[in-house]
Point group: C2
Chain length 267, copies 2
């Protein structure tokens, strides 16, 4: 079992990703796909007159400021347009995909962060209208049941809070939590860069291997969204996932390439 | 087992619908919910610069002209915003809802209409870019499996064609096909009118009872979107569903009221 997370940044080709997954499926590979949709959400949010805002935590992690209106736009793009687009691609390739968000059947559950600290213009302030949280429980019985029935889950945020609210969660970390809960041996975090770069954005500075003991020391190289990926990788390793690969979804065979070790391999 | 279809027209209160369903669930009622989203889709399509278009068949049935861009907007609203909004409402009420479109797990499958005849300004022409079809097969094993596991399905178009394309299908007829396939005893078609009116839009002209033998003769009273509901009711009755009620989703207890016979009862 592998868990594949594909990001939602510009330049990612979902057609080749789905073709690669479909051909691996025919070889007997079992998988769960988790996807993002940030770039498309930004575009639609602009068009709908509610432009995206991002906040940065005191420790430097950037995330989407998710007020109620943003959450609904987010759901439109992630759960509607992108999720169903991926399911349709896979269905055309003969794979019986089933698209679900983390709120469906409480697949991803966890606490909402009632208040978060963010840094703005050098000042720390408290944000209370942010519908975000973290995945603490994965409904493995539902996922295992679907996989047994021959269905391939295509998962997307939001998750659901313990009070039943839809909450935005980081997709990389949610994919990591899913890999841990399902005891997957491999987690792939695919995006629009070759992997973790020592000297971002110089793609020739790719870090190819990271031992578990080295994760803390290499974390400083991670900038922007890569910080979440490294955190996701760290949490997955800690939870027992043997290999995590941060790979490039722009490759023609993004899943096979990552499985073959192309990217930054944590093991 | 009942199948409840709630429309997507203006004035429908999804909060009271979900509260009504949740309280019935606590009394042991099993159900599947099917929903629409036409009004909201029109609003979003306008905002995104791709205004809705409707076509009318030679026999007078009106439907959305669903080109590829419309389909993606349709999926954003139906599968994203509305489906997840309903699932979240139900989850907050303690119901483990699971939102799925007809393409997920091939829940609703059928042929795409490659070409349809439409009437425009009195002239008939052929439309070929229309991604629409009709539900011929329902994945009852997946739905039964979910219901057995304690999950309540919240279903929405699109369906999937035999070639794996997402296709827009009429929600009332899809709900009817689902009721037939699951051998539900009752199908509720709830919308923003009291039922079938003899003299539309005079709400005091409600037709309260229709025997199966009378369906053809009362069909002439159905105008606009009501034509599809009567067709859905007819197909469901023909398929063995004992009672179909076209009821009012604006009522405070829309499901209970319809079950109690408020609306137009076909039996």
């Amino acid at each position: 079992m592998i868990v594949v997370k594909v990001g939602g940044s510009e330049g990612i080709n979902l057609d080749t990703l789905c073709e690669d997954l479909a051909s691996l499926t025919q070889e007997g590979q079992n998988w769960i796909l988790v996807h993002g949709g940030s770039h498309q959400t930004n575009l639609i949010a602009e068009k709908l007159g509610h432009p995206p805002r991002f906040v940065t935590s005191p420790s430097g992690y950037t995330s989407r400021h998710t007020d109620r209106q943003t959450l609904e736009i987010f759901e439109m793009v992630y759960c509607g347009q992108i999720n169903k687009g991926i399911v349709e691609r896979l269905q055309k390739l003969g794979i019986n995909a089933i698209g679900l968000s983390g709120i469906d059947g409480r697949i991803w559950q966890g606490p909402r962060k009632e208040a978060i600290r963010v840094v703005e213009n050098g000042r720390t302030r408290i944000l209370r209208d942010n519908l975000t949280g973290i995945v603490k429980e994965v409904n493995t019985s539902l996922l295992a049941n679907l996989l047994e029935g021959g269905y391939y889950p295509v998962l997307t945020p939001p998750a659901i809070s313990t009070k039943g609210e839809a909450i935005n969660v980081d997709g990389d970390r949610a994919a990591g939590a899913t890999a841990v809960a399902l005891q997957a041996d491999t987690l792939l975090l695919l995006s629009n860069i070759p992997g973790l770069l020592k000297d971002f954005p110089d793609e020739s500075s790719l870090i190819t291997h990271v031992k578990e003991s080295e994760i803390e020391s290499i974390s400083d190289y991670a900038k922007g969204r890569m910080k979440m990926k490294v955190l996701g990788a760290k949490e997955a390793m800690k939870g027992g996932v043997k290999r995590v690969i941060i790979g490039d979804a722009r490759n023609p065979n993004p899943v096979r390439d990552a499985l073959a070790g192309k990217g930054t391999v944590f093991e």
